[in-house]
Symmetry: C2
Subunit: 313 residues, 2 copies
Amino acid sequence: MQLVKLLLQGNRRALARVITLVENDEKEKLGILQALYPHTGNAYVIGVTGAPGAGKSSLVDRLLAEARTEGLSVGVIAVDPTSPFTGGAILGDRIRMQEHALDPGVFIRSMGSRGSLGGLSRSTRETIQVLDAFGKDLVLVETVGVGQSEVDIVRAADTTLVVLTPAAGDSVQTLKAGIMEIADLFVNNKADLPGVERTFAEIRAMLDLRSEQPWRPPVIKTICTKGSGLGQLWEAIGAHRAHLAADNRLHEERQLRVRLELAGEVEHLVKSKIWEEIRERVSLEGLIQQIVDRQRDPYSVARELLELINFPF
Amino acid sequence: MQLVKLLLQGNRRALARVITLVENDEKEKLGILQALYPHTGNAYVIGVTGAPGAGKSSLVDRLLAEARTEGLSVGVIAVDPTSPFTGGAILGDRIRMQEHALDPGVFIRSMGSRGSLGGLSRSTRETIQVLDAFGKDLVLVETVGVGQSEVDIVRAADTTLVVLTPAAGDSVQTLKAGIMEIADLFVNNKADLPGVERTFAEIRAMLDLRSEQPWRPPVIKTICTKGSGLGQLWEAIGAHRAHLAADNRLHEERQLRVRLELAGEVEHLVKSKIWEEIRERVSLEGLIQQIVDRQRDPYSVARELLELINFPF
């Protein structure tokens, strides 16, 4: 594979090409990912998530700058679950980040949802692997975080930042949405806005509800537009990394991640195959009409379809 | 099935009991859902979604009152993807709705995520069917809406309201998150807050970007706390319902929904079975360790596991 060889030699065009292949789910993808896999496992992955408008992009910009100051090479994946019909229009705010575009130590990629959001989380995880194999020291993944697929995306991160602002409706209510468990650090951004102390207190109260855990997520106040709090945040990320490194925790986390990846791959293969087989043998239209008409129910039809393809167990 | 019979006779305790069985995924569930299915298809389902803090619960309260005025019997499902460790604590805001608790024409149920969010969307859809079979004219489903599982939940609705407020970060940014396509109506709530005109304009601009479609979602301004705009909203819901009834659209929507339900059921069965079989034959631990150590890759291991269980195609 010439492309894989070039990528491993540090060729940026090969990198861009491979990510496109991954994103488009091309035939070559499987072979490429298999060939790159032995070269992965070195990059540290930071996930940045939070409600829309919380300032995630600015924060990623700032973290990128911090990392470059320390001489780390960085990959950025900005995951944008934009709906197909709005297309690239809303990707405009990405352009800002292009100030780093000429820096050879930085590679930035926006990923949109071309199909399902599940597919998006899949290709994000694969792109992390590609950047890792390319030799990036650090991969920053930014995504709007409230739903399950966004949770899946940040699950690929070693350290996950949840960004909150004092803005209305952005405090405890946001924490509802299942994101609390995955936060390693809370960033209380826009800390110059009124209400910041309330948000701060609410996060702490939420954390106090939890049972004792080996890592208590710190809450860092930042004002990205002024660069304030960024040093402290960078230190806190370092502290979490050190925490993971101790007592084999990073290893355990990565085991869990491999487990999820393997499960995802198995289920993806099985689902594709099952539907291919079903569609070869039966037209679903008639059955669906019968269910719509309440002559049949979806539960027994599902079982019947699996019998039909001799789903064997 | 005594329980099914009681439920179909209008027994509320049987209804509550069945929903609990569904939520807990008990063995009896399959038989119950099969028995109830022929009695479904009569309820009209309204989904209410939007960013946290947008005022969805108050809106549902108001819609409930409107529906009762018209003599409709109503079921409410308040879906709360609260994380397990915060538990019922945040469900407090539900209590407000209990003013309807003594009304025999109203049945309210909160559903939390006991396991995965995918499981939550599954049991929400099943609970809609149970309420439908029970004879509810209208089912209101409220959920925080930004991620894929929430999209899956509202996909079970005939009319979906997306609630937005003029609050910071709640406008165009929210629309990014894949919710635009599923909105049949936009509710611009808290219309007494500053910024409401901007939100209004942004939604319209977004809608203008879309290709011509048979239904253009209207944008209704409401102030739930004052009850203002609610009559207009109720009328708009009626207009959407009439739109669906014309040209067979409701039928087509329900066909699509049955298709998704059937697919969900098939995939659920297949996944459970596949993992049962794999776990019987092999301990995953060793394989996962080999992948972590980069001696193997997840792509070929996934294929090997499927060969191992003679996944037959």
